[in-house]
């Protein structure tokens, strides 16, 4: 029989438990590294040096972090409404199509209009594609977990069709759109910082990172400081109380899914407008799914999401460097390490809450 739920001080809940989870995950990952005959300390050092040890490495890390912030926030907003949005990939795909069409069709406009419009188009595409499962759940009772997964496949197939048949580069065998106009793309960070006297090597990091930071603040304000956020949290925590309070859970379900989809659209902004400068196949690269882990680890709070996104950024960038330097540690190994962290931070959270609680108790006694 289980005892009463474990309550921890806030700092322990938000800081200590995830830290202990990550530490445990690193220990397990270290054992795997030992298992294939490499030194875990050396691997960790390579991973950290590759991701944080140079300006270039750090910039790559922050580029990955940008993607994870967008997809993590998308999942987090849906969480607060009690919804499990697994459709980040599909929503980002549709957002990418919308952004690409805006960039291609509105190219005559000046950049100062075109870029914001394309970003809004991405948000609108993601929002629309998030709204559909929200609407299906609110009016037909179709569970968003099922519908978002199915819509991911539809979006991916739609992207192939469009790139091959409709908006592909004429005369090219590659399933990709023509390059966007020079004034339709987001400024790379090394160009953005050059006037300030900061010289960075050329990396994919671009001004979408600043958009991601703005989204962190905006989501925090939305969830914890706005009337809509109050309604979203009420619906997520207790739909009956929401109905009692005059909040329509159906409406909130649709609104929250639309906001969630719009945030997932940020992934398309970063990848298509910031890095590739065109729309390519599979540009979502699984970031939508990792966003689930980011939101879980960050406990749905924007600060937590930022930290978790940074951690996954380090893993992605450092892991790439690691597999480059140590051929025995393949990219798949790095995926295993990421998986272990997700497992420990998400699924085994209760385990470490107990450990932390007894640790705190012991601390008080001593």
């Amino acid at each position: 029989m289980t005892a009463a739920p474990i309550t921890l001080p806030r700092w322990a809940d938000a800081g200590l438990v995830p830290l202990v989870s990550v530490a445990a995950a690193l220990v397990v990952a270290g054992l795997v590294v030992i298992g294939i005959g490499e030194s875990p300390l050396e691997a960790t050092a390579l991973l950290l040096r590759g991701s944080l040890g140079s300006a270039e490495g750090l910039a790559f890390t922050l580029y990955y972090t940008t993607n994870f912030i967008f997809t993590g926030l998308a999942v987090a907003v849906a969480f607060h409404a009690g919804l499990f949005n697994i459709g980040g990939e599909g929503q980002a795909t549709i957002a990418g199509i919308f952004a690409a069409l805006a960039c291609l069709w509105l190219a005559p406009l000046p950049g100062i209009l075109l870029v914001p419009l394309a970003i809004l188009a991405a948000a609108a595409g993601g929002a629309l594609y998030g709204f559909i499962p929200g609407w299906l759940q609110a009016t037909r009772g179709s569970h968003v977990v099922i519908t978002t997964i199915m819509l991911n496949f539809i979006a991916a197939t739609l992207l192939v069709y469009l790139l091959v048949e409709k908006i592909g580069k004429p005369g090219s065998m590659q399933p990709e759109t023509p390059d966007f106009a020079k004034h339709a793309i987001l400024t790379p960070m090394h160009q953005l910082l050059a006037p300030l006297g900061v010289t960075l090597p050329a990396t994919p990091l671009n001004s979408a990172f600043l958009l991601a930071l703005a989204c962190l603040v905006a989501v925090w304000a939305l969830i914890f400081r706005s009337r809509l956020g109050y309604a979203i949290r009420t619906t997520g925590a207790n739909p009956r109380a929401a109905a009692y309070a005059g909040i329509s859970p159906a409406r909130i379900t649709m609104v929250a899914m639309a906001i969630s989809g719009a945030l997932a659209g940020g992934l398309a902004v970063n990848e298509a407008m910031g890095v590739q400068h065109r729309l390519v196949l599979d540009f979502t690269g699984g970031y939508g799914f990792v966003g689930i882990a980011v939101a879980l680890m960050g406990r749905g709070h924007p600060v937590g999401v930022a930290l978790a996104a940074f951690l996954f950024g380090i893993l992605y960038q450092g892991g790439a460097e690691l597999s480059f330097d140590k051929p025995t540690i393949t990219r798949d190994m790095v995926v295993v390490i990421g998986g272990v962290i997700i497992l420990f931070a998400g699924a085994l959270d209760g385990l470490f809450r107990r450990v932390v609680a007894s640790g705190l108790r012991l601390g008080r006694v001593l």
């Binding site: 029989m1 400081r225 706005s226 309604a231 949290r233 009420t234 925590a237 109380a241 005059g246």
Partner: protein, 511 residues
């Protein structure tokens, strides 16, 4: 050792602290073998903590537990069961899809194969039924049993595991009055067979009815041990609260005003086409309390939900201040604007978001009001200031707006709801189970507030499973049975027997 048998349970100097809260402070308790021992106290007095220590959920910081005279270390519920202690929780620990006998053997299957254990259990159940008059079909599916019968299954489970000492935590909170009476018959039978029963409750009538001795807790300490025959409800109430308590509601007769809320021919059918409410009509006047008496589940909840705009009636008309409410008006937010406030029956499931802070709950339903922030935003400072003011006026303890609502006692949670709904000067107040799970001090407070509102001209509809409460507060009483209103009585012209007949569906007596 003297001739007297050792007490079944002795707790000596038990202390337990949770963070800043001293839940139990040097508590000692002695329960004579073969007796029914009551433990009373307000919510948060430490009764549940003490019993959780006895049952091994928590470990005491200090103190000793002796069972039958021998000190025992009880570190888990397994230890407690081995020591012959059984516990019946307020919320049953049953698997609803399994049969009675399967639930009884759960965790005591006696081997990898069920067959032997089930056969044993069946024989044992037959014997227990015989001994204690616990009649129950061993093959019935638990989820299909009434709450009272489910409770019997819980008791049988403990007895099957060889419990000599049975702890019941607020056992009557979920029972109808007749079911509660049957429970007491059973408890007396257990006592005759030499079992020891510990009864945790805050209903003093039950203590007086069934216990041999009673211990009173207040703020984590034992403040009194008395023989039940040598005490009285006012004395116990005073010991619990620490001051004199008015057990009777003082109420002056008052002239009622104009009709405010009229409901005519309200019917509600569920998805399967069953009538939950048939042709219910009632009129609420300004300055009166109309009570609805009925055994739980006879349409009272549906009536409240319809009037509060949470359920659409399949037939019927509702008038508020003479205006017929159309479908757009029958929405909770719109009804609040029109002055109809609602204190829901189940505050934790409908009236509060227990994961929110108290301050956030104090604006639930009013989150759109301009006072709480500019434009689309909410100001935490404004919300906290509002809560501090409301909590001071309604004596919510602790008056901490930042505390999570789940950490408040039932009575204080109810006061948060009450403050929220009353402070905006309602014209009509719908009240469901205002004092369910609420301690005596808070009951007195809530009753006085409701009477004061009535005196100020508010029309109040009161739904409660506590017949005493309905009779004490109401000016008029409507009885419900099977979704129908079976009769109306003036409160001063009726008694429990008369209402009981109406509640049982025996309509107007032949003259």
């Amino acid at each position: 050792m003297t001739d007297a048998p050792a007490p079944a349970i002795e707790l000596v100097g038990i202390s337990k602290r949770f963070g800043a809260v001293q839940a139990n402070r040097d508590v000692s308790l002695s329960v004579a073998a073969g007796s029914i021992h009551g433990i009373v106290g307000e919510n948060g007095a430490g009764k549940s903590t003490l019993m959780s220590i006895l049952y091994g959920f928590y470990e005491a910081d200090s103190g000793e537990i002796r069972i039958g005279g021998t000190p025992r270390a009880i570190r888990s519920s397994g230890d407690a069961i081995a020591a012959g202690i059984g516990m019946v929780h307020q919320h049953f620990m049953l698997v609803e899809t399994l049969s009675v006998v399967e639930n009884v053997v759960l965790g005591a299957e006696g081997g990898a194969f069920l067959k032997g254990g089930l056969a044993n259990a069946r024989a044992e159940l037959a014997r227990l039924s015989q001994d204690y008059g616990l009649v129950i079909d061993p093959d019935a599916i638990v989820g299909e049993l009434s709450v009272g019968l489910q409770q019997r299954v819980e008791i049988l489970k403990s007895l099957y595991r060889g419990a000599d000492i049975l702890i019941l935590d607020e056992p009557t909170a979920v029972l109808t009055p007749p079911e509660a009476d049957q429970l007491f018959v059973l408890l007396r039978a257990l006592k005759r067979q030499g079992k020891t029963v510990i009864l945790i409750t805050h209903k003093l009538r039950e203590i007086m009815d069934v216990t041999d001795a009673v211990s009173v807790m207040r703020r984590g300490e034992m403040v009194a041990h008395v023989r039940t025959s040598q005490t009285s409800p006012p004395e116990l109430a005073e010991a619990m609260v620490g001051r004199r308590v008015l057990l009777r509601v003082e109420k002056e007769p008052r002239q009622r005003g104009a009709p405010v809320l009229e409901a005519v021919g309200i019917s509600v059918t569920d998805a399967r086409g069953l009538a939950l409410l048939s042709e219910a009509s009632l009129t609420l006047h300004a300055g009166e309390i109309v009570g609805i008496a009925g055994v739980a589940g006879n349409g009272q909840s549906e009536l409240l939900d319809v009037l509060a705009g949470l359920t659409a009636p399949s037939r019927g008309v509702i008038r508020l201040n003479g205006q017929i409410l159309n479908a757009a008006d029958r929405k909770p937010a719109r009804l609040r604007e029109l002055g109809l406030m609602h204190i829901p029956e189940d505050r934790q499931k409908a009236g509060l978001v227990t994961a929110f802070t108290a301050a956030e709950n104090a604006i639930l339903g009013y989150q759109h009001e301009a006072a709480f922030g500019a434009g689309p935003f909410l100001s935490p400072r404004a919300i906290a200031a509002h809560a501090r003011e409301a909590f001071a006026a309604y004596d919510v303890r602790p008056p901490d707006p930042a505390l999570k609502t789940a950490n408040f006692s039932g009575g204080n949670q109810q006061k948060i709801v009450l403050a929220r709904e009353i402070e905006r000067a309602p014209k009509v107040l719908l009240v469901g189970q205002p004092t369910r799970g609420v301690d005596i001090g808070a009951i007195e407070f809530i009753h006085r507030r409701l009477i004061a509102l009535r005196d100020a001209g508010v029309a109040i509809l009161l739904v409660s499973v506590e017949l005493e409460e309905v009779m004490a507060l109401s000016d008029r009483i409507l009885c419900m049975c099977g979704g129908r209103i079976t009769g109306e009585r003036a409160a001063e012209a009726t008694d429990e027997r008369d209402l009981g007949l109406l509640m049982a569906g025996v309509t107007e007596r032949a003259a």
